[in-house]
């Protein structure tokens, strides 16, 4: 467990010796549904997300990955447990205050991209700035810069229907990034993509996670995403059951995965 004292915010540029925790969840319990259909989807999850890391959340279907992501992203509120995002505790916040928190600190990437079909790539990205009250030519420049970063400089004026799945997801990545959030949460970002596009998106995410002020958490089923991870969390039946971290000097988590297999076989 990370000591509370380390939940600090190293100013940008400071290479903190301890990991820079941007999200801290403790004992999260979440009940979904009502009456007879009530399900305890999360049974006491604790985790921290560190800036500069790409964390994968892996687990079987129905294990509570999306539920956890919704809570970490302040879309759902936990039944019990505490959460703080970018150092701000979320306890007792109403829907508008939570929207505020999402706007200022959280970026989302969805499995089905959730782009606005009537807006161009650039407009989709600008919308995320507009929601933050950032408008005008500055916003246009910022949107174009981030689209360039995801390799879509030539598709600024394209509508989602004229973009491939991989391109659409990269627009979504650009949209999540443009507001400089502390945390980017992605729910199965590669599930709808072929391997080439999936790898492009994952490499983009790992690149984004290199930023010392930002943590990226991606929910995934997809073993092809493993090589990009700095850290993998395993969830089963509403509980975190394992955590693996890329060892110092190890290039990818591939090895880590192999080690894990060896351990399991042993």
């Amino acid at each position: 467990m990370t000591a509370v004292a380390t939940v600090s915010h190293a100013p940008a540029g400071t290479v903190a010796a301890t990991a820079n925790v941007v999200l801290d969840a403790r004992d999260i319990v979440k009940d979904l549904g009502e009456g007879a259909g009530k399900v305890r989807a999360l049974k006491g999850v604790s985790l921290t997300l560190n800036a500069g890391e790409l964390t994968l959340l892996m687990g079987p279907s129905g294990s509570g990955k999306t539920t956890l992501l919704s809570i970490l992203g302040c879309i759902l509120t936990p039944t019990s447990g505490t959460l703080s995002v970018a150092g701000k505790p979320t306890a007792g916040l109403g829907p508008e205050a939570l929207a505020d928190l999402r706007r200022n600190h959280v970026g989302f990437i969805f499995q089905s991209y959730n782009l606005f079909p009537t807006l161009t790539a650039e407009e989709n990205v600008r919308l995320a700035l507009d929601v933050r009250g950032s408008r005008g030519s500055d916003a246009v420049v910022a949107a174009q810069r981030v689209l360039q970063k995801v390799g879509l400089r030539h598709k600024l004026k394209s509508y989602p229907s004229n973009l491939s799945g991989g391109e659409q997801q990269r627009v979504a990545v650009a949209r999540s990034l443009v507001g400089s959030p502390s945390v980017i949460l992605a729910d199965e970002p590669t599930a709808a993509l072929d391997s080439e596009n999936g790898e492009a998106v994952m490499s983009l995410l790992s690149q984004i996670a290199k930023d010392r002020s930002r943590a990226v958490l991606a929910v995934t089923h997809d073993p092809r995403t493993v090589p990009y991870a700095d850290r993998i969390l395993r969830i089963e039946d509403g509980l975190i059951v394992g955590e693996e971290r890329r060892a110092e000097g190890v290039e990818t988590v591939h090895e880590l995965a192999r080690t894990r297999k060896r351990k399991a076989n042993a």
Binding site: T66, L69, S70, G73, I75, L76, P95, E96, A99, D100, L101, R102, R103, N104, V106, F108, F110, Q111, S112, N114, F116, P117, T118, L119, E123, R126, L127, A128, D130, V131, R132, R135, R175, D187
Partner: protein, 376 residues
């Protein structure tokens, strides 16, 4: 971006947009016609009273409107004239009578007799001939609108009114009566003759008060000297009484306003329906917006802008049609009047209608659960 999004949402589904616009258009046209008819009726009802040059009207007790008044004694005029602060007291004769067309058949008319040199009531908007032409033998002036109804073609034509022959000496344009009964202007004495009124009778005494004098005081002074079967109304009172009679006692105004309200309701229902279904279609997008951290206000703004844009486009189209109808009605006996005030009121009503329509859509959207962004 809210405007862009609203605009794109609106034009994304052309069929729905068309339905929305037809709803607004229908509403505006209905409102414009009903309220325009109301304004037109109002104008017709009060035009004679407004045009008459006087502050007080002496008339038979219980007179309900300008056209239908019992005669009073002609000497009441001198009573008024002898009252301090009275500048002039002009006798006027009005009565219904039959106009027999040269081509056969007859029609009811309202004869208005006043000696123009005394002020009082004179025809206005004269397009042919001259008011002074009424001095000639048999001369009457009528409005162009009623030429056909009166069976004459223009200046110089003759007809029979009562036992006398009349000759059209001039034409006016746009002096129409709410009862659709043509006005026939002539002199005081000829009017008496045409309607068979005894020489010692008149219908009204139109009193002009010296500028600066207290109209109420003058009214009191005249009333003190007149028998009780008369009453004296100010111009505003007479106008209100005529309006009350024609628009409300007869139910005509109520019907017009009722039609307008119906238009408003139908428009609101159609716009609410289409806006609601559009919002439902775009619900996933609104949920995404919410997930991106937009405030409720931001989303409401998008919906309201959709409503506002529909209102503007619908208003533009609706007014084009309404103005065409107004233009076509200009020469008819029941003109529809469009004033800048009415145009502004319609714009306001359109926006109000669309804003009210947006409420159900907003109600839907404030209840969205952003969790749905993950379950598409």
């Amino acid at each position: 971006m809210t405007l862009t999004l609203a605009f794109r949402n609106l034009f994304h589904d052309r069929v729905r947009l068309a339905v929305t616009l037809i709803g607004i258009l229908f509403s505006i046209v209905l409102l414009a016609v009903q309220l325009g008819l109301y304004l037109g009726a109002r104008g017709m009802i009060i035009s004679m009273i407004d045009r008459a040059d006087g502050d007080l009207w002496v008339m038979a007790y219980g007179t309900k409107n300008f056209e239908e008044a019992q005669p009073i004694r002609a000497r009441e005029r001198y009573v008024a004239l002898s009252t301090p602060d009275v500048m002039s007291a002009t006798p006027i004769v009005t009565a219904f009578t039959d106009w027999r067309k040269p081509t056969g058949g007859s029609t009811l008319v309202v004869v208005i007799g006043a000696d123009t040199e005394e002020g009082g009531i004179a025809p206005w908007n004269v397009v042919e001939g001259d008011v002074s032409g009424l001095g000639a033998r048999d001369a009457v002036m009528i409005d162009k609108t009623y030429l056909e109804e009166l069976g004459v073609n223009g200046v110089g034509d003759t007809a029979q009114v009562g036992s006398a022959r009349v000759r059209v000496s001039g034409l006016t344009e746009g002096i129409r009566s709410f009862t659709v009964t043509p006005f026939v202007f002539t002199t005081l004495n000829r009017a008496r003759q045409l309607v068979d009124m005894p020489a010692d009778n008149i219908t009204y005494v139109l009193v002009k008060v010296r500028p600066g004098a207290d109209v109420e005081k003058v009214r009191g002074a005249i009333r003190a000297q007149l028998p009780g079967d008369n009453e004296i109304l100010t111009r505003a009172e007479f106008r209100d009484r005529s309006l009350n009679h024609w628009l409300f006692a007869t139910g005509a105004g109520v019907a017009l306003l009722g039609g307008a309200i119906l238009g408003l309701i139908v428009g609101t229902v159609i716009v609410a329906q289409t806006l609601y279904s559009s919002t439902k279609d775009h619900l996933a997008e609104f949920a995404t917006l919410r997930a991106l951290g937009s405030s409720k206000g931001y989303i409401n703004k998008v919906i309201l802008m959709q409503a506002g844009l529909s209102a503007l486009i619908g208003y533009g189209l609706g007014m084009t049609i309404a103005l065409t109808i107004v233009y076509m009605s200009e020469q008819t006996a029941l003109p529809i009047v469009m004033s800048p005030g009415l145009a502004a009121l319609l714009l306001l009503l359109t926006f109000a209608m669309c804003a009210v329509s947006a409420l159900s859509a907003i109600g839907k959207v404030v209840r969205i659960d952003p969790v749905m962004v993950f379950n598409r």
